[in-house]
Amino acid sequence: MSASLRSRAHARFVRWALRGKAPEAAPILLEQRRVYVLPTRAGMAFALTLAVIMLGAMNYNLSLGYALAFLLAGLGIVAILHSFRNLVQVSLRPGRCDPVFAGTPATFNLILENARNEQRTSLRLFVGDPDVACTPVEIDVPAQGFAVAALVLPSSRRGWYAFPRTTVETTWPLGWIRAWSYIAPDARCLVYPAPAPKAPPLPWHDESSHGAQRDGRGSDDFSGLRNHQAADPPRHVAWKAVARQEQGPLLTKLFAGSSAQELVFEWEATVALGDIEQRLSMLTRWLLDAEASGMRWGLRLPGTHLAPGHGSAHLAAGLAALALFDHGAS
């Protein structure tokens, strides 16, 4: 009960701390006002120790005992300032964030910049949300330099994955004091639909296969191998490669070439699957396979039309269209 109360209070504090400006525009400068400082558990234990030392010094009239207690108290204060200084004035901006397929971890890169002449030591970044399994990243930022913190977060749903609210903290140098700040950078990661695990054949026989020219297949540039699928022409089976291995699947030789055939994937072609997400998964798989086989392909979704093409940019555009299909405002 108290745990939930505490987490609710914490959530309120975070909301107040960010004061509704999430997501923030880059670069995010951790200025004095947004860096918070509180003692850690070890700091509390130290404070208790200090109190006992003070009592001992009083009871035994130990002048040096007083001096010790006061020196340690001063050390505690200095630790506050150093922890605070270690974090304050760091500036952060989101870096690259490559699209991923749903289910695979998304890597958010945060670039931390340090304008100061001293290194920032042991900054820790993690996502405060307990529902997000995220291993904290601990990095140093060199003097007058930058460092990249790669936060790896699990992705579950296709679409835009907004960078979650993240905590930057440090307990350096003594571990008694924790200085921290919340950031909500304006960064997002595109999550493609997960490719369907079982790959059905490319929809060659579909009437909508736009001018499919089976005989015009590019067979001039060998571009790689992949597992054989039922629809692959037998003359493309890599018999030599199959003969070399004792067991295993048949392999199909892939060719790329200007004369490769063209195929347009239609949203309607997957209607048999029913569920939108499954249909998108299927299309994702087809797009990947088509791209891998080196052919020119196109994509027609309700509201989106991608002319046949080829290459990584084309694939990215296709996958993005699938990822953002029916995705509301974003």
Binding site: T49, N59, Y66, A73, I77, H82
Partner: protein, 652 residues
């Protein structure tokens, strides 16, 4: 969040071992041997675990050993409370914690234990070397704490950083030390901690007891005279201590243990000498004062026989203002009971001196002054020898000393003289204390050490009151006029510091003593009273704890602000090229061409040039120069100057 469960690296455990060693080694001398060996074994085990990377002992073992150790401490001290047993327990826990060093939590616990042990060292000694050792232990412990948080920096860097952190803490420490309202301890009882009997005068005097005291060169007290030119001559420096009127044939004893006067019963007339006395703790009630005191320190009183007694035993070094009336005498109208006590003699014994005293009595009758003169003459005639090694005396100690061995130390003289006068019907008593002292030319303090211990007689003469008579002065005037070394025959075993044959050694000794006295006066002796004096001198009238807190708050605020400013000052990158570029961008912004931080200079220039075609060439040149300064491998030094003139002359 605070990751107290992260594992401890090999380097971190070595640091913690070093901290444990630094903070516990000085305590070894005060601990029983078995404990030293056991703790040492735990440390060695830890070292082995770190270096060979052995597995830690099973989890169950340390608690069992902790219980065994506690039982051992209980057997040793019959308690586990109090000072020494407490430190013994802490040492055991420290050793065992090192053996179950698994996570950062354990590392923190070890660091805190080390801080406690540094405090423990001060319970035994607070000298300057001890303080230096403690500072060293603190630096190592802080470095170990730093390493526990970040173990990558090398040893030197960790120690340096620890030193810097502690140095930054020093201003606050000084402020708190000076201004934090002090409370005079103890807050609770000190079981077993009562200062073990230190050497020094006791409340009884047997033959040989003062000779034994004078084997020590420990400081008893220091006196700082207000007017250094007015320090009384050596022969007048009689520091009055316990008064012993009761004699049982061998031992003189104190009888008055309760204060009878709250103010000196004699008029404060005649020449006075003001001084401040810093008394070392001696665990007894009496205070020492130059005869006769004109003031009573706080919480003290005078007994009927004019001993200065403190209400509490002197367990801590104390300091008080004094004024001495060197020529005053006391007790002109003395209570008959006291006079009777000052005449009492044990039945029988010492027949020879009794016979001599009878002779004085017959000759001079009731003229006590004449009897006193006769007694002095008699002592002079006997050719007594002042020595630290008198022969042992039998039952009739006074007779044997005066007529047979004729060799004695001051207690023999005082005892025999007092006895003789009593036998002649003159009230007399023995006074113990210190005589003389040595002025340290460096700080002007007169230092009185145990080897200045002395005993003399006090004789009551009708019309004059109590008169001090020092029979030792009759046989060995140099004892009184110079010091004990001058009076003793060569070859007598004296404390090292009492010897005055090596000039350079004396000089060195004076130096050391001045330093140590300064330390005692200003660091160790900084008590509530000195704090009040200090604040009064700062201009605070009648400082109480409220005003102290206020002053403390103001000064700490200032210090904190200064520290904060110092620590948070960030030397912003003042890149001259960037500053120039910003100036350029401001000029263009006035024409509505706004530079965005994400825009590259050349890109921005081409946009600006489109909007200001008239200035296109200039803009391009400036952007080109700036880009070269910014991104070229080795920008030419003159190009900055060129950029400056170009931007200065640029008018959009």
């Amino acid at each position: 969040m605070a990751r107290l469960d992260r594992p401890v690296s090999r380097r971190q455990s070595s640091w913690l071992l070093a901290a444990a060693l630094a903070s516990s080694l000085p305590l070894a001398a005060h601990m029983p041997l078995w404990l030293v060996i056991a703790t040492g074994a735990a440390f060695a085990w830890r070292a082995l675990l770190s270096w060979r990377q052995y597995r830690l002992p099973p989890r169950g073992l340390p608690p069992v050993m902790a219980i065994a150790g506690s039982i051992g401490v209980f057997i040793e001290y019959h308690t586990i409370l109090g000072r020494t047993p407490g430190i013994a327990l802490l040492l055991i826990f420290l050793g065992l914690k090192l053996l179950e060093l698994r996570s950062a939590r354990d590392a923190m616990a070890i660091v805190l234990l080390c801080f406690f042990l540094v405090l423990g060292q001060f319970l035994f000694s607070q000298t300057i070397p001890m303080a230096l050792q403690a500072a060293f232990a603190l630096i190592v412990t802080t470095a170990a704490l730093l390493a526990a948080n970040d173990d990558r920096p090398p040893i030197r860097a960790q120690l340096t950083r620890a030193g810097i952190l502690l140095a930054q803490a020093v201003p606050l420490m000084l402020l708190l030390f000076l201004l934090f309202p002090r409370i005079e301890g103890p807050l609770w009882g000190l079981p077993e901690d009562r200062r073990s009997a230190t050497s020094g005068l006791s409340d009884s005097m047997a033959p040989g007891s003062i000779a034994q005291v004078s084997q020590s060169d420990a400081v008893v007290f220091r006196a700082l005279f207000k007017h250094p030119e007015n320090i009384p001559p050596q022969a007048q420096l009689y520091w009055r201590g316990p008064v012993m009127p009761a004699f049982d044939g061998r031992v003189w004893r104190v009888t008055q243990t309760r204060a009878a006067y709250a103010a000196p019963p004699w008029p404060a007339r005649g020449p006075a000498t003001d001084y401040e006395l810093t008394l070392e703790a001696h665990g007894k009630f009496w205070l020492f004062a130059l005869e006769l005191p004109a003031l009573l320190p706080a919480d003290s009183g005078l007994t009927a026989d004019y001993q200065l007694l403190s209400r509490q035993p002197v367990r801590n070094r104390m300091r008080f203002e004094q004024r001495a009336l060197l020529l005053a005498s006391a007790g002109r109208e003395e209570a008959p009971a006291l006079l009777r006590e000052a005449l009492a003699l044990p039945q029988g014994g010492n027949p020879r001196i009794r016979a001599v005293a009878e002779g004085w009595r017959r000759q001079h009758g009731n003229d006590t002054a004449a009897i006193l003169v006769a007694a002095k003459e008699f002592f002079n005639r006997q050719l007594l020898i002042y020595t630290l090694n008198p022969p042992l005396l039998g039952k009739d100690s006074v007779d044997e000393f005066l007529f047979d061995s004729k060799r004695g130390f001051c207690e023999h003289f005082a005892s025999a003289f007092t006895f003789a006068l009593r036998a002649a019907g003159v009230p007399a008593r023995v006074v113990a204390g210190y005589q003389g002292g040595e002025v340290n030319p460096l700080d002007g303090y007169l230092v009185v050490r145990q080897y200045d211990a002395h005993a003399w007689s006090e004789v009551w003469l009708a019309g004059q009151g109590w008169v001090r008579v020092d029979p030792t002065a009759i046989a060995a005037p140099s004892r009184i006029n110079e010091n004990v070394m001058a009076a003793l025959p060569a070859g007598e075993p004296l404390p090292f510091l009492a010897r005055n044959d090596l000039a350079w050694l004396r000089e060195l000794r004076h130096r050391l003593d001045a330093v140590s006295n300064g330390w005692n006066q200003w660091v160790l002796g900084y008590n509530p009273q000195r704090q009040r004096d200090f604040l009064t001198r700062l201009g605070l009238d009648s400082p109480d704890w409220r005003s102290m807190i206020a002053v403390l708050a103001i000064f700490s605020g200032i210090t904190l602000l200064a520290l904060t400013f110092w620590i948070l000052r960030s030397r912003q990158r003042s890149d001259p090229a960037l500053l120039l570029w910003r100036r350029f961008a401001r000029k263009l912004a006035r024409c509505g061409i706004v530079w965005q931080p994400w825009q590259g200079p050349l890109d921005f220039a081409s946009r600006a040039a489109e909007k200001l075609p008239g200035r296109a060439a200039e803009i391009r040149e400036i952007a080109h120069d700036y880009a070269a300064l910014r991104y070229a491998a080795k920008p030419h030094e003159s190009s900055l100057l060129r950029l400056k003139t170009r931007i200065a002359s640029f008018k959009p």
